[in-house]
C-alpha cells in the first residue's frame, strides 16, 4: 500500500503460557493515522495481542516497535520500568470494564496522570480535562463520581482520560462489549470522531458493522494466528478463508436477523 515506515510494528509476536501458545508468530504493521480492527472468537488471542502492545501482557518472543522505539526491549529491571512507564504515556488504552478510578471525580480521573507525569499545574490540568471531556461530551459531568454515571458515560470519560496524555496511538479492548445495547452508539460516535481526527487506533471488537464503517483494515484472528487480513469490504463481504466465513456467518446471524 505504502512504503512508509510503519508507526506500530509488531514482528513475530509470540506468547505462551507454559505449553499453551496463545500467539503464534504474529506480524502487524500499522501506519500513522490508520485504524485497524482485530476480530475473532474469544480465546483467539486478540486481546492478548492488544495488551502486549503496551506490555500489560508481555510477549515471550518477538518485537514491538512504536515509531523508532522498541517497546519490549531487553533491559535490566529498573531501567525497563522507567522505559515502559515512558512508553505507556504514548499509548492510550481503553478497557472493556472502563476501570475508572472510583474514588476520584471525573475531573481527577482525567487530570491525575497529566499532573503526576507531565508536571501540569492544577489550572493547566483542569483546562486540559475540560477540553478532553468536552470532546467526548462529558463536560457537564466533570464533578460527578464514576458511580453516578452510566456505562456509556463511564467509557467516554475513560477515553478522555486516555486522550489527556496526548497518546500517539489508542488501543481499544472491546470498549463496548460491557455496555447495554442502547449505550453502545454514544461510545462508537466518540471513536468515529477520533477516527476523523486521524488518531492511530487498534481496536479489538465484536461490533462488525462498526469495524466495517470505521476501519481501514481488519484482522481476523483464530487460535493465536492471523487467519486473514485485508480491507473491511473484502473481509466482511468476500472473505477467502473458511474459518473467517464461518465466524462471520455465526456472528452476523445474530446481528442482522
Amino acid at each position: 500500500m505504502t512504503d512508509q515506515k510503519p508507526f506500530v510494528d509488531i514482528r513475530h509476536a509470540q506468547k505462551s503460557f507454559g505449553a499453551l501458545e496463545v500467539l503464534k508468530d504474529i506480524n502487524l504493521q500499522v501506519q500513522k493515522g490508520q485504524i485497524v480492527a482485530i476480530i475473532g472468537p474469544s480465546g483467539s488471542g486478540k486481546s492478548t495481542l492488544l495488551r502486549a502492545i503496551n506490555d500489560l501482557d508481555p510477549l515471550t518472543g518477538g518485537e514491538i516497535w512504536l515509531e523508532d522505539k522498541q517497546i519490549n526491549k531487553k533491559l535490566p529491571h529498573r531501567q525497563y520500568e522507567k522505559h515502559i512507564n515512558l512508553v505507556r504515556q504514548e499509548i492510550g488504552m481503553v478497557f472493556q470494564h472502563f476501570n475508572l478510578f472510583p474514588h476520584l471525580k471525573v475531573r481527577e480521573n482525567v487530570t491525575l496522570a497529566p499532573k503526576m507525569l507531565k508536571g501540569l499545574s492544577e489550572a493547566e490540568a483542569n483546562k486540559l480535562a475540560e477540553v478532553q471531556l468536552e470532546k467526548v461530551g462529558m463536560l457537564e459531568r466533570i464533578d460527578f463520581y464514576p458511580s453516578q454515571l452510566s456505562g456509556g458515560q463511564k467509557q467516554r470519560v475513560a477515553i478522555a482520560r486516555a486522550l489527556a496524555m496526548n497518546p500517539k496511538v489508542m488501543l481499544f479492548d472491546e470498549a463496548t462489549s460491557a455496555l447495554d445495547p442502547e449505550l453502545v452508539e454514544e461510545v462508537n460516535l466518540v471513536m468515529k470522531k477520533l477516527a476523523e481526527e486521524h488518531m492511530t487506533m487498534i481496536i479489538v471488537t465484536h461490533e462488525m458493522s462498526f469495524a466495517e464503517s470505521v476501519c481501514d483494515r481488519v484482522l481476523f484472528m483464530d487460535q493465536g494466528v492471523v487467519v486473514e487480513e485485508g480491507p473491511p469490504d473484502v473481509i466482511f463481504r468476500n472473505p477467502k478463508n473458511d474459518r473467517t466465513k464461518e465466524f462471520l456467518r455465526k456472528h452476523l446471524a445474530g446481528q442482522h436477523p
Binding site: N54, L56, E81, N85, L86, R88, Q89, I91, G92, M93, F95, H97, N99, L100, F101, P102, H103, L104, K105, L112, A113, M116, L117, Y145, S147, A158, R161, A162, M165
Partner: protein, 218 residues
C-alpha cells in the same frame, strides 16, 4: 458508707487533665497506627524478602505479646541500651505500633481486594508501580477499611489506660490519684467511665462523618 459525689469538684482539675492526656495519647497513637499501618501493609505485601522477613518477626512481636509487656519494654527496657524514651512518647509509640500492626492486617486484605483493572488502568497511563499504589490502590483500600479501623481506634482509646503503668497521668492514673486522697473509688471510677464514654461518642461521630464523605465516591 454511702456514696458521696460531692467530692468530685475538688478533684475535677486532676481528672480533666487526665482526660486531656488520654485524648493526646489516643490521637497521637491513632496517627502513628494509621500511617504506620499503611507503611507496614506495603512492606508486608511488596517489600523485598530481606525487609519482609524481619518485619514479620516484628509484627509477630506486636501481635503475639501483651501490649503491657510492649510498653514495659519500650519504657523500661530500651533505656538499658541507651534509648531513653519519655513516658508519654513511649505510650504513643507503643500503642501506635501495636495498633499499626492490626491496621496493617486489615489493609493488606483490602489492598489485595482492589480490582486488578485499577492498577492496569494506572500503569497504562504511565504511572509507576509505586505511583499506582499511592494514588489509586491505597486510597481505595483505605476507603474500604475505615469502619474496622474505626473499631481499632476505639479499642486503642480503651487500651490507652495501660499507659498509666509507665507513669503517664492519663485518665485512669488521675482517677487513682484522686481516689488515693479522697478514698472514694466508686465515685471516681464512675466519673472516669463516663468520661471515656464521652470521648468514645466523639470518636464514633468523627468516624461516621468520614464514612459519609466516603460514601459519595462509592
Amino acid at each position: 458508707m454511702g456514696l458521696d459525689f460531692s467530692v468530685i469538684p475538688d478533684y475535677l482539675d486532676i481528672v480533666l487533665w487526665g482526660a486531656l492526656w488520654t485524648v493526646a495519647i489516643t490521637v497521637g497513637a491513632a496517627i502513628v497506627s494509621f500511617f504506620g499501618g499503611i507503611v507496614f501493609a506495603v512492606i508486608a505485601l511488596y517489600a523485598h524478602l530481606i525487609v519482609r522477613l524481619p518485619f514479620r518477626a516484628f509484627a509477630f512481636l506486636f501481635m503475639g505479646t501483651p501490649l503491657l509487656l510492649q510498653l514495659f519494654l519500650i519504657y523500661f527496657g530500651l533505656v538499658q541500651i541507651g534509648i531513653d524514651v519519655p513516658a508519654f512518647m513511649a505510650g504513643v509509640i507503643g500503642l501506635g505500633l501495636h495498633f499499626a500492626v492490626y491496621n496493617s492486617e486489615l489493609l493488606q486484605t483490602s489492598i489485595l481486594a482492589v480490582d486488578k483493572g485499577q492498577v492496569e488502568a494506572a500503569r497504562t497511563l504511565g504511572l509507576s508501580r509505586m505511583q499506582s499504589l499511592r494514588k489509586v490502590v491505597i486510597p481505595q483500600a483505605i476507603r474500604d477499611v475505615i469502619p474496622p479501623i474505626g473499631n481499632n481506634m476505639i479499642a486503642l482509646l480503651k487500651d490507652s489506660a495501660l499507659v498509666s503503668v509507665i507513669g503517664v497521668s492519663e485518665l485512669t492514673l488521675s482517677a487513682q490519684r484522686a481516689i488515693g486522697s479522697s478514698y472514694r473509688p466508686f465515685e471516681f471510677y464512675v466519673l472516669v467511665a463516663v468520661i471515656y464514654y464521652i470521648i468514645n461518642i466523639f470518636m464514633e461521630a468523627a468516624q461516621r462523618r468520614v464514612e459519609r464523605r466516603i460514601q459519595a465516591s462509592k
